[in-house]
Symmetry: C2
Subunit: 311 residues, 2 copies
């Protein structure tokens, strides 16, 4: 295993700066984000990572495939848009030679990430009152049909997996901590993501193990072993406690939170994972710090905190 | 099923006031908290609920049994204190004739509920550096040994379950949302709580299904069915999104959040649950409101939002 910088950790760096930073700090791999790649230009980004001899450990991110759960035309259009956008993401991942395209699948239909619940015409409750109305979302509202949202993800995956396979791209289903279930990902456990992946060939769909999202899961070690070679990305960062008001920024440098990393790292290794270990941290203090110092700390903590003794 | 007021929902009411409130609003059951019972006096509380003809649907709460994971004498003393306190809670539940004693098992050893992580002499990381030191908590620090904390819960339960059984009290293991894993409960899923309960006779240990904590769980319906008669408490409230800065107060009146209740209620009924449905809401706005209005809203929402059509 070798350490990779997910460029979100050094939020202010462009693709060119992140590539330079990796080379300067002796890292062999980088995880890129689509927005940054678009700013740098896809062809230029490809040229930069190749010239530097870096592996692209992941492209972040595809997904957000649940809006098809909205009623009628709105749902159909949203579903089609999501598929189109994901096909573009797959094309970009193929160009970059990324080890995987990370898929954050999306939350309840009609809920916008990080925003309050929409108060549509159905009132504060957002669904038709009563037990029967859980498919009945009024315009501008949202759906509480969690099981349905999960079905939309499976449907979208059935469309996208063969497309990815043809282009040599692995889709990496990322289970997110349940605190993100309303707005970012209705995939909430590794076991659930794994079960979903198993409907597709191993070369098309795998799973992400991100310590922040899964550290609490009582089935974690069992599901890591069961996942085996389906694990296509191992991401590490710590879980801060208490979480900040914006829970998206609750990620910390390894060692600053509550996660005991070595048993998880050992399990991922034992499952046969041979890819890079990406450090992806969303954290206002870390984003305000000097990126070179962040990368230096990241390297030291990786050795001290993430790797098992003797690894 | 019949509706019960957990007195935390009407936070400012004493036991006497909550009992009066239940009678005034035609409820047949009340869920009590130990602090409030202590203030009212145990004998007086017993007298009040009996005179009113109310069932006590639960006593909240026992638990916090993980501090035994701290090293040396500190751990041994903490474990003994936790057992003593839980035996007292069981005695109180027996006196009150409560349907169960709700057990919130506690978080990582050394982490105080709602408080920042302690920065003990081991530094911000709170454990000895490196992979081998995860049992090595310095004084004033905390432990990241989640697996060990879960073992402490099982050990404490082995002590307490027979004691509870002798007094006719059922211990109700409550899985809490994973956001509370660091500081309040290392039991994070219904399946995990159920597996733990199965080591003991059904009349000694069961599980709580609280919609706030479990709504996101992809295995929820499977585990509710598997739990069957082990379900000894069904608690309902909504999951607000986004959560407030103090996540403890992220509970909402049913219909104000993201949970689709009818499928869950239907599953709990199908599992054979015949007890009361307790509404337990921690929420600053609801606590500031007139308790009688809160109870009136609670009754209306229970009918409109929680019960399946035709129930």
């Amino acid at each position: 295993m070798s350490l990779s910088l997910n460029q979100r950790t050094t939020q202010r760096w462009t693709v060119a700066e992140a590539v330079d930073g990796c080379v300067r700090h002796g890292l062999e791999a980088v995880g890129l984000w689509r927005e940054n790649v678009a700013e740098q230009g896809l062809a230029e980004s490809v040229k930069l990572v190749r010239a530097a001899g870096l592996r692209v450990s992941s492209l972040c991110r595809g997904g957000f495939m649940t809006a098809g759960g909205l009623p009628g035309d709105e749902g159909r259009r949203a579903f089609a848009r999501a598929l189109d956008d994901n096909r573009r993401a797959i094309d970009e991942a193929a160009e970059l030679g990324a080890a995987c395209l990370v898929m954050v699948v999306g939350g309840l239909p009609g809920v916008t990430p990080g925003e309050p619940l929409p108060a549509g015409p159905a009132g504060a409750r957002g669904v038709a009152a009563g037990g029967g109305g859980y498919g009945g979302v009024a315009a501008g509202g949202f759906s509480r049909d969690l099981a349905g949202a999960r079905e939309r993800v499976a449907e979208a995956l059935a469309e996208l997996a063969p497309y990815a396979g043809e282009r040599g791209v692995k889709l990496a289903l990322e289970p997110l901590h349940p605190v993100y279930c309303p707005d970012r990902a209705v995939l909430s456990t590794l076991g659930q993501a794994l079960d979903l992946s198993l409907a597709h060939p191993e070369k098309q769909v795998g799973v992400v193990v991100d310590t922040f999202h899964v550290w609490w899961d009582p089935r974690l070690f069992e599901d890591i072993a069961r996942a085996g070679r389906r694990i296509v990305s191992y991401q590490v960062c710590d879980y801060l406690h208490p979480l900040p008001a914006d829970v998206l920024l609750g990620r910390g440098m390894m060692g600053d939170g509550v996660i005991g990393f070595p048993p998880i790292t050992r399990a991922v290794l034992a499952a046969g994972y041979t890819g890079d270990v990406e450090v992806e941290i969303f954290n206002a203090d870390i984003w305000a710090a000097d990126p070179d110092e962040v990368v230096a700390t990241m390297k030291a903590r990786y050795e001290d905190v993430v790797l098992p003794a003797g690894a």
